[in-house]
Symmetry: C2
Subunit: 571 residues, 2 copies
């Protein structure tokens, strides 16, 4: 492609709304343009990269025997009502105004619908079905460029099995394929245990890229390799336990004391002496009921863990909703003398703890001497806390690191949630009807592109590897006013085209060498071939490797061979 | 792909709602399944064909220098308001309920929006931008399977030029590329002049496939090659003209006479003696105004031509709306004594005609002796009639054939409608600001597939050519209970896979030979390789060419070479 004819609108300026590096560089290099908030047009250069990623994904899916579908974005809303996900997705799913359709944010329902009609027997399985196509999600706050956008490319695969062992195999196949895909793309990633969230199911893992631009937080052990999303991560943080003989409960006047820190400094105690009350609402059928949760001291309640424990959506109570339930306001709530009957759960660290301080359910008062076993009717103790930096790895005890990360892919053992919802059953070896056992496996295609750029750039622009590069060679006619330079460049371009070496040729006339070099570095093609007047006089042409900055002169007569050789050597 | 593992759900029965051949065969061969009315899932076999068509389209677009984009389906509604197409598309465009978006049924607006921001000078053009992606149209009556559906794949290309000559070149490039694409796909097609309709612009052509399943009607001259959609087709049908001296107007009692035929038989006159009145409403800004149209005798008014003449949407008046305007009902309307002031236009055949009969604008009365020139204030004479079978070709006079056809592609010289609407301007050589001159070029990808099947099938199923075939070879282990057959088949399969010859291998155990043959014929892979016990005993393997039914035995040791040779020979 000749730059004089190509549409690659590079920008010198950093776009005002772009915060993270990949977003800035994708805009500046002319890969994408926003159409409206969270909605991007892929321009030719950007779409070339997307197609390369899709090709890699397809090859690895095909190689594990997955079969490619293309399922409709327009979905009848009834299908989603059968699995109760119209409610679960809420405003995140787009609804069509002039037809009872939704735009599919994922395709478990359609897959189960097709399986219901066509999978009759255990002999028809295993099946692994996948597709690569546009998904639609009405993100309230789209951000970070293509990383969180309102329509995006997704590879979504679904496995159908007749046994749990079959699901294990299908899941592992995807797990291995994902590792190959991200490795081939040249991305440094790690895998973490994750929460299944609204998808349901009993196991899930995420493929993550460490990045300050990430919206996920993960706990990593550099020693034993333990890695988990903080949504599910645990640590060896010890229980509070029994501390001496249980005292009796005493009421203490604590004027204007609201937080654990204030309470500790007022009473000269430590956070371990305190039980913090947190109130949420959870959904029981169509009603929202309050639940009172106790955490030790300043431990942070983890909403994902709470969701998993309660098995439904949860929302934090608002301050103004508390008085009606407790007869007291936030900061004075506790486990004793609650006005109304309410579900109470507590973090595992509080199990068996005594001599605790907590709110008195009366403004400006706290109680001391609380023994959870003796005084509180707790419905269950669960792991509800958020792990923090430096806590001991649950497997080996080494201090955990907490890092920000971007989720590239997520694999789920779904189980039978969707097949039960849509009656997608099969007959097993004994002729008994059973729900199909499903798995679901997603990759955000644009995220692969953005994460690659996050990991491969410098102050001048993007640094592509061969696997994802939109072109392999960036041929530059340095002095466009010199006839010999233009002739030689044109000649090399034609030879490269003939050899099927994807080349972008900067043949622009009246553009300064400096401007051409800047554009080439910004776009980041692996090899730059620089045809200049000065070197041509000595029969030489310069090649620059974008990643290392290394430059070397080659005989003009052997330039194609030299290009081919260097291309073989570099990543 | 082994059939024992593949998801290719073939059906013996013809699906109840499928009327046309391609629809029946795409369902029966397991290429597609409906999800809801007009919305289809592509199953693996069907999607393989779609990808092959897309690859051909991409190659031909790339070879004329078109650059591939991927533009969002989610479009802010404001963009469409700027070109007034929210109204023009009406209910055919999907609107999103929970965000002010529409789903793009085409992308002229987004293209003009990008051009506005990035094309500054005549030096930045020509540009040809294309994409292949899902389009959304809320068809009121989806039908004929994937031929008229509510979401579909479309290749849409757009040219941006600084001159009308440039547009001519871009348009011709697309024209030539389209011919190559359809020819490579193995489709018999013809090109017709067409109406630009709601797209606007001054020239358009359609690429058509003759088919009784078609919704378009075309006039063809087998002698000189004249071809036009009846929306714009003309013929050498002569004018009525002056017939003798103009008589004076007389009122005739015509009780219960409503139609031209009734009038002719009642008064013993011919249709050429009559002027038929037709009433439409047309849109002037936000109001709908009536227009009275006169046609000669039984000539049929062509709504597309009327739309082009008036340059806006039109709808036929309802019978109950007529009396208020004319003081008479349908069947008694005419050009004289109209109650209200109204726009009047007439077909060219009536220009200068005299001694005509028409309604008296009084129920049960007609007038004779009407001279259009003398008696009627006509706002203009236009070609408004629909050509019919056997009329003389406008170019050579040969009788025209009228055929039904399916539109595969449509190319438009748009001009400046969209660039003006979205202020996509450029500076010309003199530094003057001008609107970019646009063209728009579409191909319905599924239609290529369906039309191919319409033209290539027999009573047993589909007959694929190599270009579109989902697999090239259908390898059949005929006697699955015979060990040698299974071993030999497996061996051949592995060799074919190694040679990258796409093969579907019917390795199913417990499925009868007859059933396997029927499935193979239905799916229609070009070559069938039949490994049977009987022939293996003689060291032979049979190859059947699906299109011709030709069968021949080959040495089992040379079977791969034989397959390769036959594949070279056939289409």
């Amino acid at each position: 492609m000749k730059l004089s004819k190509a549409f690659i609108p590079t920008l010198k300026e950093v776009p005002a709304d772009a915060v993270i590096t990949s977003h800035k560089l994708m805009i500046r290099s002319g890969m994408i343009r926003p159409l409206t908030a969270g909605v991007y047009s892929f321009l030719p250069l950007g779409y070339r990269v997307i197609k390369k990623i899709i090709d890699i994904v397809r090859e690895e899916m095909d190689s594990i025997g997955a079969q490619e579908f293309f399922l409709p974005a327009l979905n009848p809303i009834e299908l989603w009502e059968q699995t109760d996900r119209v409610k679960a997705f809420g405003d995140t799913m787009y609804h069509v105004k002039n037809r009872p359709y939704v735009l599919a944010p994922t395709h478990e329902e359609v897959i189960a619908h097709i399986a219901k009609n066509h999978i009759q027997s255990y002999k028809d399985m295993p099946q692994v079905w996948y597709q690569v196509q546009t998904k639609f999600r009405n993100e309230a706050r789209p951000r970070s460029g293509v990383i969180r956008s309102r329509q995006f490319f997704m590879k979504d695969a679904y496995s159908l099995d007749s046994s749990w062992e079959g699901l294990d195999k299908s899941y592992n196949d995807q797990h291995e394929a994902y590792k190959k895909i991200f490795t081939r793309c040249g991305i440094k990633f790690f895998v973490v245990g994750a929460s299944s969230g609204a998808m349901g199911g009993n196991k899930s893992q995420e493929f993550m890229v460490e990045s300050n631009a990430g919206e996920d937080t993960c706990a990593l052990c550099d020693k034993c390799g333990y890695a988990a999303n903080v949504e599910v991560a645990t640590s060896k943080k010890e229980k509070i336990g029994k501390r001496g003989e249980s005292k009796s409960i005493e009421k203490i006047h604590t004027p204007n004391i609201k937080t654990i820190d204030e309470l500790c400094s007022f009473l000269k105690i430590t956070p371990d002496d305190c039980a913090k009350a947190v109130v949420y609402f959870y959904q029981v059928e169509d009603k929202w009921e309050p639940v009172l949760i106790f955490m030790s001291g300043n431990d942070e309640l983890n909403e994902s863990k709470l969701t998993s424990v309660l098995g439904c959506q949860v929302v934090p109570a608002k301050p103004e909703e508390l008085f009606d339930i407790f007869g007291a306001n936030a900061g004075s709530l506790g486990p004793i003398n609650i006005k109304k009957k309410i579900k109470i759960i507590a973090d595992k660290r509080l199990e068996g703890a005594n001599n605790l301080y907590s709110g008195a359910n009366e403004d400006d008062y706290h109680l001391s001497g609380i023994d959870f076993e003796r005084d509180v009717k707790v419905d269950g103790y669960y792991d509800l806390r958020t792990v923090i930096e430096g806590e001991a790895c649950p497997d080996c005890g080494t201090p955990l690191r907490i890092v920000k990360a971007i989720e590239l892919g997520h694999i789920f053992k779904l189980g039978t949630k969707y097949s039960e919802g849509l009656q997608a059953n099969f007959l097993d070896e004994k002729g008994e009807e059973k729900p199909i056992i499903m798995g679901s496996y997603g990759i955000g295609i644009e995220r692969v592109c953005a994460c690659y750029i996050e990991q491969n750039n410098d102050e001048y622009g993007i640094i592509w590897n061969k696997a994802l590069a939109p072109y392999l060679v960036s041929l530059i006619a340095v002095n466009s006013n010199v006839k010999e330079v233009m002739q030689k460049s044109e000649e090399i371009y034609n030879l490269l085209v003939k050899k099927n070496i994807d080349t972008v040729y900067d043949d622009r006339v009246g553009v300064s060498p400096g401007f051409k070099f800047k554009d080439a570095d910004l776009i980041g093609i692996p090899l730059q071939v620089l045809v200049s007047e000065k070197n041509l006089k000595n029969g030489k042409i310069e090649i620059k490797i974008r990643r290392t900055g290394e430059r070397k002169l080659f005989d003009q007569d052997k330039i194609i061979e030299s290009i081919e050789n260097i291309l073989k050597e570099i990543d």
